[in-house]
């Protein structure tokens, strides 16, 4: 009986994830890991956006491979996602995001993951989504540089449309490096928060 109950619950969770559309803004350390986690979670559709190409220096923390260096990031990520879960629909945009194209690129998204590097771009995306789009919840990250202090990275609900992940203080501007494990912790917080809002809605 317990098994039966769990199976029903699993099916219900899977159905909600299958119907969901998630936008991922930026495919660096955060975005590439969020995309992989959501693909493995059998998400319905991902809208991925990044203007950049894979650089050798990205491989210490981003979910690409040595033979993908030089490739356009969205193309490399489509390849990797297809190999992980071909059932996930992926719409890719190789372009830089700005306040005038964000609404169009992420139209139909239930949730948007802010996975940018620069503080100004994080600000721009969060402000744009909250002021110019009516629907999507945004899950943003501030403070993930360095190593150790795993438990300082938290997930906080700021409002009914904004969730903030991170330690709130450790930026790369403080001279700290980005390391795979700590970036991965933040990305997993982000992906986990996205799964939660898709399945249960935003908790107040």
């Amino acid at each position: 009986m317990f098994f039966f109950f769990d199976l029903r619950k699993m099916i219900s969770i899977n159905n909600k994830l299958r119907q969901a559309v998630v936008g991922i803004a930026g495919l660096g350390g955060l975005g590439s890991a969020v995309a992989v986690a959501l693909a493995r979670s059998n998400i319905g559709k991902l809208i991925i956006a990044d203007f950049d190409t894979v650089d050798a220096g990205n491989l210490n923390r981003q979910q690409y491979f040595v033979d993908q260096v030089g490739k356009v990031k969205v193309d490399a990520m489509i390849e990797n996602l297809k190999r992980i879960n071909p059932d996930v629909k992926v719409k890719a945009h190789q372009q830089k995001l700005n306040p005038d194209n964000i609404g169009e690129i992420f139209a139909g998204a239930n949730v948007i993951a802010e996975c940018f590097d620069k503080a100004e771009e994080k600000q721009m995306l969060v402000e744009t989504v909250l002021t110019r789009m009516d629907k999507p919840i945004i899950v943003s990250v501030s403070g993930l540089a360095g190593y150790g202090n795993s438990n300082e990275i938290t997930t906080r609900r700021i409002s009914n449309r904004l969730i903030l992940v991170g330690d709130g203080k450790n930026g790369i501007d403080s001279g700290q490096p980005l390391t795979a494990a700590r970036v991965g912790i933040a990305a997993s917080h982000q992906a986990n928060a996205i799964v939660e809002v898709i399945v249960d809605g935003i908790k107040g």
């Binding site: 590097d117 503080a119 994080k122 969060v126 501030s142 409002s159």
Partner: protein, 70 residues
């Protein structure tokens, strides 16, 4: 004294010395306007309106600050 609630903490200002705008408050707190999302009483204030958005005592202000890295 007049107060503003900033990120859940009451901050007191001597009467008449409440910052008049969001921009003035951020300057007082030494926060770069390019890296903060501001919310007053649940309403997001666009960055380009920081200088013209007036503050009044008793408001609940959330300042969401971003540091680089991703």
């Amino acid at each position: 004294m007049e107060t503003l609630k900033i990120n859940g903490v009451e901050k007191q200002f001597p009467s008449g010395q409440l910052p008049t705008t969001v921009a003035e408050l951020l300057q007082l707190l030494n926060i770069n306007t390019a890296t903060v999302v501001a919310e007053i009483d649940g309403q997001i204030i666009e960055r380009e309106k920081f200088a013209e958005t007036q503050l009044s005592k008793g408001q609940n202000i959330e300042l969401i600050r971003f540091v680089p890295g991703g």
